[in-house]
């Protein structure tokens, strides 16, 4: 049970019900961060539009994106986003070893250079809000400017999502294995 009740579609104005329908069309299950964000439908709409951009139009590949999101969700201790994105990561071809290492907060030594970079960036940003010089240089070598800016903003977006999940104690669906 979350700390505040989920927003309810039937209590919204027709305009806000449209936002609700748009958001839920692309998201399975319900009960996630948007069940909280929809207490402020206009804001939920903007946050969802940001997320849809990352899903549909980002310069990052699906697998790159899911590694960043999983590392961020794990660092934040956000169970619901972890659970959703573990499934997406598998669909996107992220290696099981990467998923299990992130879940266990293990050493990244077995990662490829790119996997390592994409996991290190969120960990460093969430701890220090910056990248050490060597990590920044690696990021600049490996990613285009657009990709680099998108990775940073993606971590920011999932900070919002993780904060919502944690502040309101959103439970992951029953029976799901998180960490």
């Amino acid at each position: 049970m979350s700390r505040i009740p989920s927003a309810k579609r039937e209590e919204l104005s027709p305009e806000h019900q449209q936002i609700w329908d748009h958001i839920h069309a692309a998201r399975s299950g319900g009960g996630g961060p948007y069940s909280m964000l929809m207490h402020v439908p206009a804001l939920a709409g903007y946050v969802a539009a940001t997320e849809d951009y990352f899903r549909l139009n980002s310069a990052l590949s699906d697998a790159d994106r899911e590694i960043v999101i999983l590392a961020a969700a794990r660092e934040l201790g956000a169970h619901y986003p972890w659970m959703r994105h573990e499934a997406r990561a598998r669909q996107s071809g992220v290696r099981s070893e990467v998923i299990e290492t992130l879940r266990a907060k293990g050493s990244l030594a077995g990662f490829t250079a790119r996997e390592n970079l994409l996991a290190e960036i969120p960990l460093s940003l969430l701890r220090d809000h910056r990248l050490p010089d060597d990590l920044f240089s690696r990021a600049e070598r490996e990613l285009s400017r657009r990709q680099l800016v998108e990775v940073i903003a993606l971590v920011g977006h999932y900070s919002t999502i993780g904060f919502v999940a944690n502040a309101f104690e959103l439970p992951a669906p029953e029976g799901s294995k998180t960490f």
């Binding site: 700390r3 505040i4 009740p5 909280m36 964000l37 207490h39 402020v40 206009a42 804001l43 903007y46 946050v47 539009a49 940001t50 951009y53 990352f54 139009n57 980002s58 310069a59 934040l76 201790g77 956000a78 940003l125 809000h129 910056r130 990248l131 920044f136 400017r145 657009r146 680099l148 800016v149 998108e150 940073i152 903003a153 971590v155 920011g156 977006h157 900070s159 919002t160 999502i161 993780g162 904060f163 919502v164 944690n166 502040a167 309101f168």
Partner: protein, 179 residues
């Protein structure tokens, strides 16, 4: 000089220039985090829309919003965001002593009442990524569910903005006093 060159309007498509004009119309000074985010214009527009929501339609009182933003900017050491929001905070009548306490990253006992609660909320969610039952209960006594959602979402947004500023070393206007 920030770590990446500022995005420039010249190299953009007509459609992206429209985004550029819209984003910068509401923002003085050029530069700033959007000079980095605009390396991905289609993405940047969504973060700008979220920010515009908070500026123009937020349910939170101006003073509540600025306390959260200044606290977050100080914690992330985002000088650019601090200068902009220090000006706003003065304009809307936040007491200079409060602003100085935020600048000095003073202990919680230097704040009182609602300001103290918001500083504690912001610092706790940033550093611990969760809120204790007691702190959540105190927030819930002061804010409606919708306002709670906004407070969390606002903090998430300014973590994104602050991180962009900090990690790309986006400079505040010359001569500005920050911290």
């Amino acid at each position: 000089m920030s770590k990446l060159p500022n995005a420039t309007r010249d190299g953009l498509s007509a459609e992206q220039q429209k985004i550029w004009d819209h984003v910068f119309a509401g923002r003085t000074g050029g530069g700033g985090p959007y000079s980095m985010l605009m390396h991905s214009p289609a993405m940047a527009q969504h973060f700008a829309a979220t920010e515009d929501y908070f500026r123009n339609h937020s349910l939170l009182a101006d003073a509540d919003r600025e306390i959260i933003i200044l606290t977050a900017a100080r914690e992330v050491e985002a000088h650019y965001a601090w200068t902009r929001h220090e000006i706003r905070a003065h304009k809307i009548g936040i007491q200079p002593e409060t602003i100085e306490a935020l600048r000095a990253r003073a202990a919680l006992d230097k704040f009182t009442g609602r300001e103290k609660l918001l500083v504690e909320f912001t610092r706790t969610l940033m550093h611990e990524h969760e809120l204790s039952a007691d702190l959540f209960a105190r927030m819930e006594r002061e804010f409606s569910p919708a306002k709670l959602v906004e407070a969390v979402g606002l903090l998430g947004h300014y973590i994104t903005i602050g991180t962009v500023i900090r990690m790309f070393d986006v400079k505040p206007p010359e001569g500005s006093k920050t911290f």
